[in-house]
Symmetry: C2
Subunit: 371 residues, 2 copies
Amino acid sequence: MSESELLIVYRVQASSDEVEARADALLLEQTVELSRRALHDPGLRGLTVGRVVAIEAMGEDDFRVSLAQPRSATADDPAQLLNVLFGNSSLQPDVVLESVTVTDAQALILGGPRMGLAGLRRLAGAENRAMTMTALKPMGLSAARLAALCHAFALEGLDFVKDDHGLADHPFCPFVDRVRACLEATLRAAQSTGRRTRYVPNLIGSPETVLRQARIARELGVEAVMISPMVVGLPVLNELVRRHLDVPVIAHPALGGALRIQPRALLGQLFPLYGADAVIYPNVGGRFSYSRDECDAIARALRRPNVPIAPALPTPAGGIKADKVGEVLGFYGAETMLLMGGSLLESPDETTLRRRSRQFVEDVHRFPYVN
Amino acid sequence: MSESELLIVYRVQASSDEVEARADALLLEQTVELSRRALHDPGLRGLTVGRVVAIEAMGEDDFRVSLAQPRSATADDPAQLLNVLFGNSSLQPDVVLESVTVTDAQALILGGPRMGLAGLRRLAGAENRAMTMTALKPMGLSAARLAALCHAFALEGLDFVKDDHGLADHPFCPFVDRVRACLEATLRAAQSTGRRTRYVPNLIGSPETVLRQARIARELGVEAVMISPMVVGLPVLNELVRRHLDVPVIAHPALGGALRIQPRALLGQLFPLYGADAVIYPNVGGRFSYSRDECDAIARALRRPNVPIAPALPTPAGGIKADKVGEVLGFYGAETMLLMGGSLLESPDETTLRRRSRQFVEDVHRFPYVN
């Protein structure tokens, strides 16, 4: 690709008679949003009018359409980029966004993961093994109750303990109280174990709220945070990591699954491009819908970005069972963080929870690292 | 509904044997995100654990599931509300969000449209007729060229002339230059016609960019703006209207169509709840996919909100043809703004564009207002 063009790939349902016209209409819809006969100015070509690069037949009435769109159409703006990728076309049921390759210059501007896979491995002291994460829930527990859970997990050596993505600044569990108590719990556990678990608070709200939470979290000593980019807005994530935040961001897929964007493109390409260092996604076989191939594609896209940004950390989650850890890591390899929540939290008592946590940690640590 | 519960309605694909369990799992997924056996604390009931209100069979393996979720689970936060509505469940392919009724207190907090249908009618001086809007495009034209278009439209009496939603702060058409030139064009036209067309700039970017654009627009005298809530983030829209903006917001559906949320719920209920005064949506029969029933449902939801917020202005768009104006208004009635872009901009020359614009305005103004 030229340095002045983005490559955007879609799957389009159309008959072979119609697909050329459909591809051209798709090309124009994302930028000039007018038919060719309304484009009176030839100077638009290359400025805001791109070109259809390829149309491949994939099956009956199923085509892969590759478009080159001028970088200039995006204004190098994180929000306007979304319009060029899938603004109006998201309203058209015959189109799915499959893959995005921005220009190298745009990747540099958006920035991608600042710590990424390597930074999170260093932070966790996990240079040659997979990593572990669990979640604090259910929503409704007090800060003290969640901190007690956090303490138990930390005693058993989890690398990261994150808030559930639905933990906001609830009156029954205020953000400041929760962050303070959970951090304290990880420090207290470290005094007895000699190794530090990182507590990862969930930042959620409108931009000013997210900024305030980020500032509080950093003042209290938080070393990683979680954000749901589709809930707060992808451009909000990008502004946060470019301007306001010096710790890694773990991205949660909430509200993102229903988009007619393939998971690989949204979670594997766009989330890290906008700055996520690790990306949580539903693992195959859990209570969500992603296939084995989709999960593999997400992990590969995160580890081997198609633009010059740092690799991000694949973090499969959602119904990973305790006895499946080896199998899951066999599939993904050790450059992975496993997020196990329910399987630990369903323990009937703290003794069981600690035993299961310890088992989870041991199973992951035992898995051989092959680079 | 009680004042402490939201009513959320989904369509769920399940067999009749399974639907009760599926509804209960859906209920828990949006808040505590744990199975019942992991909920050791009975105090969560009513705090973060809601209840299944109704399950209605709609067809084979097709159920309408109505949930009551505790208001306390949302923390009255605009981002966390999205999690309670459709956070994790958006990742599950068997669920579609159909309708949302927040509590009256939440509606007051989110605020809804500040000017809404009535305010836009007053602004346009259109107390007893439908309204007209068109769009400035194609992206790629200079500020001066777009302003010339704006001038032509204003001379013919359009009520609103909006930026295309893809017009950002492009170097070939900087935001400040465009706003200044287009406003000037409307003022110049008003000197000869005696009536004012409102130019509506598109605010787009990460939150700081949107805020800066809002400030500039107001300083220059803009009286209405456009925002794409799914591109910039719904919570960003809400913060903007609650804290920073004193002019009406016209919402654009870009990036919003592909969500597994029925258009009535997303465009008809959530956009105005978060503060949009008018909502643009693809009209039936254009190049998008909404049915006649969906369009009717969107318009009704906007005009008759299900919570105590001001009515918002339905703004059908997308391929409305010049000879269909009467038909479209016959369907929607006069409490409507018609957005016609391509049909005007495809004119081969300015004389034709002005003639078509005049015709559009006359056709809309002629339509009788029946309250």
